[in-house]
């Protein structure tokens, strides 16, 4: 009995229905935070921050490139950990989150690669170079696409979830390589602007909007993840009575 009381929160956390209802209430606020941060950061970075001494105005691409890259990498950890939790504790919601994280991560990696290529043209004189950072980032994109493809290969949900979780866990090796690639190899890519230890190598006037944009991208990630997961919950739980009730109520309200 005692065990039951202690573990109810854990079960509730793993309940798709609980997640669906909670996110319904969180989403408007979270979207507001996301919009405020992104609009502020983008306007600040594009129109108000001073230009870079060497790169001129092209450096403003940093306000999209760096946040997208950071969240794409963090999102990979999230996807792999969600997969691991699914494998270990067999929590259905965990697999749903894992599946939802894949397309968002792929799209953010795509943004990082494309804005990086565009930035490369005026800075390095080339759109694409096969250097360590860029190549490992391209591998990240393929890993995300691989997880998405593998997830869709099997018609059996359980097998597909397990396979995708294992692939995302194996692919986690790539993430530290991406982080360290600029230090380990001689590359064209500049080294990290923001470090956990030590001051950023950037003037506060340029750095502040970047922080706002990073927070904006994180909140964007949460909003998009919630929306994808809610759609996934409906897909997998479409035969349950609570989803049927939800649909009927929705029709009545209209």
């Amino acid at each position: 009995m005692k065990l039951n009381v202690q573990w109810t929160w854990f079960h509730r956390l793993g309940s798709p229905r609980w997640f669906y209802q909670k996110t319904q209430r969180w989403l408007p606020w979270l979207s507001l935070v996301m919009l405020t941060l992104m609009v502020t950061g983008l306007v600040w970075g594009l129109a108000f921050a001073p230009p870079d001494a060497k790169q001129g105005n092209s450096f403003r691409i940093i306000y999209l490139h760096v946040p997208a890259s950071i969240v794409a990498l963090a999102g990979y950890y999230f996807m792999a950990i969600a997969g691991a939790i699914g494998l270990i504790w067999r929590i259905k919601l965990s697999y749903m989150l894992m599946r939802s994280a894949a397309p968002i991560g792929a799209a953010l990696t795509f943004i990082a690669l494309v804005t990086g290529a565009i930035w490369g043209k005026p800075t390095w004189g080339a759109y694409w170079v096969w250097d360590a950072r860029i190549t490992s980032m391209l591998i990240l994109l393929f890993l995300y696409l691989g997880v998405m493809a593998l997830r869709n290969t099997y018609s059996n949900n359980e097998v597909a979830d397990k396979a995708a979780a294992i692939l995302s866990l194996v692919g986690m090796v790539n993430v530290p390589i991406i982080y360290k690639s600029v230090d380990w190899w001689q590359t064209l890519h500049q080294s990290a602007t923001i470090k956990l230890t030590g001051a950023p190598s950037m003037h506060p006037d340029m750095f502040m909007p970047l922080v706002v944009m990073i927070l904006g991208f994180y909140s964007f990630y949460a909003v998009s993840l919630f929306l994808f997961t809610r759609a996934e919950i409906l897909r997998r739980e479409c035969r349950t009575s609570w989803v049927k009730q939800l649909v009927t109520h929705n029709l009545v309200e209209k």
Binding site: L42, L46, A47, F48, A49, P50, P51, G56, N57, S58, R60, I61, L64, H65, A68, S100, P103, I104, A107, F110, I111, V114, T115, I118, W119, K121, P122, F220, V223, S224, L227, F228, R230, A231, L234, R235, C238, V243, K244, V247, T248, N250, L251
Partner: protein, 72 residues
């Protein structure tokens, strides 16, 4: 604002093409990440509604069949 005019903000000293194309592509992709799941949700609601209606029609037919059987 750092720029003196709107034109300068667009031109960005020759770098405007690079900066604004990055902004455009990023915003389109981010917008897609919001719209895609919303469309999926809408589609799922439609599908489930069809399922419920079918089930209702089915139940009705079954009941009628039973009624007929009991009358005869």
């Amino acid at each position: 604002m750092y720029f003196e005019s709107f034109q300068q903000l667009v031109f960005m000293g020759g770098h405007g093409v690079y900066v604004w194309s990055s902004v455009y592509i990023s915003l389109v992709v981010l917008g897609g990440l919001i719209l895609k799941p919303l469309c999926q949700k809408k589609q799922m609601f439609k599908n489930i509604q069809v399922q419920i209606d079918l089930q209702k029609a089915n139940d009705k037919a079954l009941n009628r069949g039973q009624d007929n059987a009991s009358h005869s």
